[in-house]
Symmetry: C2
Amino acid sequence: MSNKLTGVFAPVVTPFKADLSPDFELYLQHCQWLLQQGAGLAVFGTNSEANSLTTTERMDLLDRLVQHGVDSGRMLPGTGCCTIQDTVELSRHATVHGCAGVLMLPPFFYKGVTDDGLFDYYSEVIERVALQDLRVYLYHIPAFSGVPISLALIERLIRRYPQQVAGIKDSSGDWQNIEAMLTNFPDFAIFPASESFLTRAMPLGASGCISATINVNPAAISRLCTGWRTDGAVQQQQELDTVRKIFQSYPMIAALKFAISHYRDHPSWQIQRPPLSALAADKKSALIAALDAAGFSMPGLLER
Amino acid sequence: MSNKLTGVFAPVVTPFKADLSPDFELYLQHCQWLLQQGAGLAVFGTNSEANSLTTTERMDLLDRLVQHGVDSGRMLPGTGCCTIQDTVELSRHATVHGCAGVLMLPPFFYKGVTDDGLFDYYSEVIERVALQDLRVYLYHIPAFSGVPISLALIERLIRRYPQQVAGIKDSSGDWQNIEAMLTNFPDFAIFPASESFLTRAMPLGASGCISATINVNPAAISRLCTGWRTDGAVQQQQELDTVRKIFQSYPMIAALKFAISHYRDHPSWQIQRPPLSALAADKKSALIAALDAAGFSMPGLLER
């Protein structure tokens, strides 16, 4: 169990320029700030608009982060695509860079696929990546993928690839599923997708969480992840939940990006790639008013 | 209305070798046979396992078909990906090849996107392709994409891009939606995704159909598409429906591929890329027995 990956990882939101190309300067700053605040980097996740990035763009961004000294050992890049080859290419690339692991969506276009078919997909990917250091974190997000990862599939994959299949992010929001995984797979690194589960999940052996709001609230979420045994934990959990609920009242990525643009005074942070859109004008002041009322703020990037 | 694309188009199933690479020789034969039987080629559709092919593989297959003399004017390649750039690259490639049009899935990972967001996505693609000859056929397949194409979105796109936005494939199976489109957009090329709608949709101005079973039953479906006014149409419709219902009792792609492998005596036709799987062994004889009982057969490829 001591080998399990632990901590909080932000599905890092991706800033764009007006021409919709990634804004690397803003991206690097945000990644450095998240690391300073105690969070790891689940780059290229759902909240990163990764599915609106090409494979080439993802590899280029990762290359440049590493070139700029960002620690790949604290990264968990999303690599799951619809095709075996794209998933293999991204997963090899991340593994060769020394990333802690890869967060792998199932192939998400075809629906109603069988566990046999998904097992074959993951097997093909793992065999073709063919690297001992590959660590796969499965990604259960049925509301977007339409392709759930069943407990039976997890069990088969762990049995066949005990080294490579290392953990899972569960974005179902279903506590019973999280609890069942924690009970059935004690050596598996299990990351609920919300900090709201921290005080319930950590005592049962969860690894931490990979949550959208770590993009804006990393220090407090990280503190509870390590300090869930302390006296203040219940109070801390309530405070985290309050902030999270505010963001959840809006389209999540748009709200995160607007909050960052507001606290960093950088309007271009709002840009999203279609089909996603920036936060509607009439919702911006309401979001900031609610965050102000909750006493929320985002500290700046420390000079090094 | 005379400019509307018409006819029946097969979402051409893609044969694979044992190493899961496309089997071009079998593919070319199947495309040539479909054309001989009166069908056009909607290559890289849902039933083509196109979402399990990389963009490079799709462009390579199209290049090779054209090099082997297959008429690009009778092709309608699927080009819709999750990213703007991939969709642009495939759409440009198909348009430069002289394809009749492109069948464009909406970006299908993010759910609950707005019509504004989808309008912006299609606009970005059309502006970036920047070719007068581009003809976009929208692809409404909510059960797989999770991203429906609303009537209001169609209206906005036609108004903004009257030349480029030429038609739609409707895979909803919802007759009311098909009827509403036929009524509201008389100059739009509307292709229901099933031949079962032919005798209802053609009198209202439908363009034909783009249907999975055209892969195995092209001549009869093509005949009804042109002959829906003739006396035998009701009987023909019933016969088409009988065959379609047999295939619909099984996982569609697996059933199509097994039928082709059976009638062509070519076992490798059964291979599918994970996460999809070949037809289960116990269902194979039942499928063929049902097709035999319906008097179904697949004529061979004519020598030229």
